[in-house]
Amino acid sequence: MNIEKQLIQELGKLTVQDYEHKEIPLASLWEKQKTVLIFVRHFG
């Protein structure tokens, strides 16, 4: 593992948008269960 929990805490403070442009806090995504975040290059 080459990233720290502290970095995940910082990540959790950021937001992403859903298809309705609604801002979702990243931390809310993994608070209930183990979560795989897949960052894709683009929607191409």
């Binding site: 910082e10 298809y19 975040l37 897949i38 894709v40 290059r41």
Partner: protein, 133 residues
């Protein structure tokens, strides 16, 4: 082509992740207006969001440069994607931005991290599944 192929592969294992009680979240970086089209193209049924600000990509130090688009693996992956029917339609997002995978447990602990080194270079699905067990 390359990105969609990766998501189609993930979709093929959605039952496996569900059995493990693991949530799958795909994050892109184009406009939210392209989310539904991407879902239709890939058949992906999981959570789908976008970060047009690229802040999360930058925080995780995912590469963003022209050199990351070049390389043998890119050509090989592109040929594979074309041969399996996943042609890139047009770029919706930052064309130079690379992606990656982070697996986080419910305590906020990172248990797996992979930064793509170039286009077409992705975390192996087996490695992701291993990280979830």
């Amino acid at each position: 082509m390359i990105c969609r192929r990766q998501v189609v592969d993930i979709q093929s294992q959605m039952d496996t992740f569900k059995k493990m009680n693991v949530r799958i979240v795909v994050i892109g970086n184009g406009s939210p207006n392209f989310i539904e089209g991407f879902r239709n193209d890939t058949g992906y049924t999981g959570d789908l969001f976008t970060d047009p600000s690229l802040k999360s990509y930058q925080l995780l130090n995912f590469r963003n440069s022209v050199t990351s688009l070049l390389g043998f693996k890119t050509i090989k992956s592109a040929l594979h994607a074309i041969s399996t029917g996943y042609l890139q339609k047009g770029i919706q997002g930052d064309a130079l931005q690379q992606g990656g995978v982070v697996v986080i447990d419910s305590d906020g602990e990172p248990v797996y991290f992979y930064a793509d080194s170039e286009a077409g270079n992705h975390a192996s699905l087996n490695e992701i599944i291993q990280a979830c067990t």
